[in-house]
């Protein structure tokens, strides 16, 4: 099991991302629900990278803290960046409005969530799920 980088440049790439992430979670022995959550989160973030980031890459890493293993996904783009991170992380769906960035939803599906973004400097979202 090695790390890999997947391109996110088209609609089909988003489907590829789902399939690859599914395969990795199966390899790691995640429960079905945890698999589904991770793949769904990846789908949301990959779509963001494509739609708002102008395309980018997904870095897939296996992480090992010595005792437990997990999957870490980093979605990186060189797009316009997010001006107001707090706003982007508020619940867009339930309140009906929102930038629909899917960030807050994806965050609830994973164990660790990191967001780095600055206007003009691109965006990097890293999510981790432990077995």
């Amino acid at each position: 099991m090695t790390n890999e980088t997947l391109p996110i440049r088209s609609d089909n790439d988003v489907v590829m991302v789902r399939q690859r992430v599914r395969a990795r979670t199966v390899e790691l022995g995640f429960s079905l629900v945890d698999q589904t959550k991770m793949v769904t989160a990846a789908s949301e973030l990959a779509r963001n990278t494509l739609r708002y980031g102008g395309g980018g890459d997904l870095r897939v890493e296996l992480v090992d803290s010595g005792i437990r293993r997990g999957l870490r996904l980093s979605f990186i783009d060189q797009g316009p960046g997010i001006a107001d991170i707090d706003l982007a992380l508020t619940d867009g769906f339930t309140s009906g409005n929102g930038l629909g960035l899917g960030l807050s939803g994806a965050r609830r599906l994973v164990n660790e969530f990191e967001l780095e973004s600055k206007p003009g400097a691109g965006t990097r979202v890293t999510i981790t799920r432990w077995k």
């Binding site: 629900v33 010595g66 005792i67 437990r68």
Partner: protein, 283 residues
């Protein structure tokens, strides 16, 4: 590094004697636990460890976190996990590593004794190495214990959240105890699984046994209701005590989409009439 080479030489030349001294030191330090594991098994572990130690040292580095040391870490982790399950304390497991120090230091003195400065360096580096390995086993043991406890909690949760088929197409979940997010996950998974298995269209969530309902608990309940609905089943919440009714209103929780009843019996009556209507519709 000179120390690594020295250690390899020592380990290769005098392995048998060192193993005996190591075992004796472990016994003196009180790390044997004959009630839990046989002397032979310990000796086997020790032999295995020495082999892996030599292999790792031949890589030249004394950093136990580096790749060359993975086999050593693997063995220590596996041993810590097994011992955690068997009931060893973290200290007892770590003693296996620490008790090797004395025999190694004795031999370092013989091998390098002529040069005090070099001896001091060798002893320091070896000490740092062994301390690191010992701490690794402590962490591994603690982590294993946490995993065991987590698994037991999970099993308890599953046992305490039975899903009962009250009638054709009607499920009931008597929820007892606090409803936190871990519990909610189990409840949702069990409930949805039963919905698929039984084809039920109504699920009664009875919260008589839930002591407090705050915003979080209410959210968990609503999540469960929403998930069941996506599977074609409607939920009725029963067992709402007057205080809970007050809390819910105070908190502004929106239960307008959910049928709520004071008692399980009332909920069952509603459920029955609904399923009868459904059967009627199917004809």
């Amino acid at each position: 590094m000179a120390t690594a080479e020295t250690l390899i030489t020592i380990l290769q030349k005098q392995q048998r004697e060192m193993l005996e001294e190591w075992f004796e030191e472990l016994s003196n330090m009180g790390g044997r636990r004959d009630d839990l594991v046989s002397a032979d098994e310990i000796k086997q572990h020790m032999q295995d460890f020495m082999g892996r130690l030599s292999a790792a040292l031949s890589g030249g580095a004394l950093d136990p976190n580096s790749n060359a040391w993975e086999p050593v870490r693997d063995q220590l982790a596996a041993m810590s996990r097994t011992r955690a399950r068997q009931g060893f304390s973290p200290r007892e497991t770590a003693l296996i590593v620490f008790s090797l120090k004395r025999t190694v230091f004795n031999r370092l003195r013989t091998a390098v004794g002529k040069d005090p400065a070099e001896l001091a360096d060798a002893i320091w580096e070896t000490s740092v190495l062994f301390d690191s390995l010992g701490l690794f086993t402590v962490e591994a043991t603690l982590r294993s214990r946490e995993e065991i406890i987590a698994r037991q909690q999970q099993e308890l949760l599953e046992l305490s959240t039975p899903v009962v088929e009250l009638w054709d197409g009607i499920l009931a979940l008597p929820m007892i105890g606090t409803l936190d997010s871990a519990r909610t996950q189990i409840v949702m998974e069990s409930l949805l699984q039963r919905i698929v298995e039984t084809g039920s269209t109504i699920a009664i969530l009875d919260i008589t046994g839930v002591p407090t309902v705050d915003t979080l608990v209410a959210q968990h309940l609503l999540k469960t209701v929403a998930a069941a609905r996506l599977m074609g089943a409607e939920c009725i919440i029963s067992g709402i005590r007057p205080q809970i009714a007050q809390t819910i209103v105070h908190l502004g929780v929106d239960l307008s989409d959910v049928i709520t009843k004071g008692t399980l019996a009332d909920a069952f009556r509603v459920a029955l009439s609904k399923t009868r209507t459904q059967i009627g519709e199917r004809r």
